[in-house]
């Protein structure tokens, strides 16, 4: 667990899922910002010093890959973790982000992935 509180942005249209994820990440020692859709997520991403993004893939209006490519253009260094409820997303989509994982793989996997992303980012 990190000493310093990293600022994480979570984007998901699933209200309950987002709420639970926020609690989980906060308990794990992160500062968490949330957004229910792509445009508001991008707005927060550009405004706040976000250090990592946990992004849902399937959202009405703007899907995760579209959001990720916009984020890469403005702040390419910020690691993005794509969470998806679908299995077998195409390579084109997963290559846009740092890590892609399926929902339901469990909290430890998510935390571990996020941690490693942040560490790699700090190291580089």
């Amino acid at each position: 667990m990190s000493k310093r509180e990293h600022l994480i942005l979570c984007v998901d249209d699933e209200v309950v899922g987002l709420h639970v994820r926020r609690i989980l990440l906060e308990r794990a020692g992160y500062k968490v910002l949330t957004a229910p859709d792509g445009p508001s997520g991008l707005e927060i991403f550009n405004r706040e010093p976000v250090e990592a993004v946990v992004l849902d893939y399937s959202m009405p209006g703007m899907t995760g890959d579209a959001i990720a490519s916009v984020m890469r253009q403005s702040k390419p260094g910020i690691p993005i973790l794509l969470l998806t409820a679908y299995v077998g997303l195409s390579k084109e989509i997963t290559s846009l982000v740092d890590i892609a994982m399926t929902k339901g793989e469990g909290a430890p996997v998510l935390l571990q992935n996020l941690n490693s992303l942040l560490r790699e980012n700090q190291a580089s």
């Binding site: 309950v16 709420h19 639970v20 609690i23 989980l24 009405p60 209006g61 409820a85 679908y86 929902k103």
Partner: protein, 597 residues
Amino acid sequence: MNLDQFNRILRQVLILPVVALALMAAALYWQMHDANQTVNLIQASSGWINQAALVQRLVVDQESGLRGYGITGDAVFLQPYFEATNRLPAIFDGLEAGAGTPEQKAAVLNLRGACQEWQEGFAVPLIATLKAGGQTNDVTLNLQGKQQMDKIRLLETAIFRSAAARRDQRIRQYQQQMRSMAIYLVLLAVVVGLMIGLYMRRQLQQVSDAFRKSLNVIRQRADETFRSEQNLRTTLASIGDAVITCDADGKVLTMNAVAQNLTGWTEQEARGVALSKVFEIFDESTREPVENPVAKVKRLNRIVALANHTVLRRPDGSEILIDDSGAPIRDQSGALSGVVLVFRDVTLQRKSQAALLANEKLAVAGRLAATIAHEIHNPLDSVSNLLFLMDGQATPEESAEFLQIAKQELSRVTQISRAMLSLYREAKAPVTIDLKEMLESILLLMDRRFLDTGVTVATDLPPGLQVRGFPAELRQVFTNLLTNAAEAAGEGGKLQLIVHPAPAGFDENGHSLPSGAVVVISDNGPGIPEPVRSQLFRPFFTTKGESGTGLGLWVSKGIITKHGGTISIGSDTSEEHHGTSISVFLAFDPVIQLGGD
């Protein structure tokens, strides 16, 4: 040429020679009449000449009598003289009357005058002198008498000559007439003969032409009949369906190769055998014998499609599923003279149809799989996160809250899985289905899909509308129709799902419909052009290219038909009102047609 024409020709052939010969006879008669007249004239001429000769003789008699009297002085010698003198006037009258020309008449008058002159100027005075006892050797008188007699002789000769000439002329005329008659006869005979001959020839030619023509037609007909029979035989032999023909008593007449193969009977074995023996059929499910098709055709006297699910039992005991129809054969009076039976083996078709149905069910599932995964993974993610939190340092209050959320999320999963399962778990018998409940659970399954594509669904689902049927099948239908509508509407499209009750009534074809409910699914997509619309319910027809099986609507229609319902498509491709609307009518309490799919 018909019989009337032929009879007319026969009549003409009889009448023409009769008429021609009658005309010829008339001409002949006319000619003979002419000749007769000429003969009469010749006879008249001869008569006249004889009269003239008589005059000559009488004149000689007068002269001789007179001379005899002069010599002998005996009055007896005068008797011929007086006789001749008495007869002459009448004969001269006759000659005058019979004279043919004025010249002749004049010659007769001259002669008469000369005779008179001789009589009165010589004979009478001489007789008187002699009677008185005088002498007769007066030279002057005698010379005068001789001169007068010479004149008479001259005149007589002239009359004879002219009369003979006239008679000769008439004879020549007669001969001429005879010659020309002969020529006419020959000519007429030749002409009439030719005419009759040519006419006969023409008429007989017509008859012979007509005969030849009929002969050709008959030959051609025979050829055609032969050809068409060969055609039919070949067609029958090479046709893919089994064909059996029977007489009106239901005895087998012919069987093609396929029929022999399917029934297990050869044509020789089956010929004359009752069809019910060769073609032993019964119902697939009830195992009850099915009505003999010949009997059925005879009873209904029209083409009949035989019962569905018919099984044919072969002599070796094996059974095949068949699909068949029977049609009456009628003679010219329209009476039934036989029955044609056409059938085919549908065992394979039924298997492949079943495979197609299963395939389509899988395709519907496949199309939903992604959304279902999504719908399950989302709550699963929350639950696993919540469990992780509860496992850590959570206060009892927090744990209670997490538990509550986890329960809610789990119930979502249950709901989804139940909705999904009900798509596959089929009831054995029809059950009561609440349309609102069923459609809402389908929408639940498809919700994510709609969200992802930005499709909004406006619903009007009144509660309490219940129909009887097989829920899984109906779910498949509506899932299918909603998927189609969403795809047609495209990104950001709008769908409408409306259910309304439909009172009993009649459809557009006049068929009575029981009371039920209509489910209408409309989209605002581009619409379906007319040529495509008519093909939509055909199997393997798809507008979705590789991504569609082309079976969805075909299967849906089958399911709805089985439920005694109807499905219809209305579409508009115009700029302002484009879109498609599918209406499904379901009866509240339908007669389920098992095997209708």
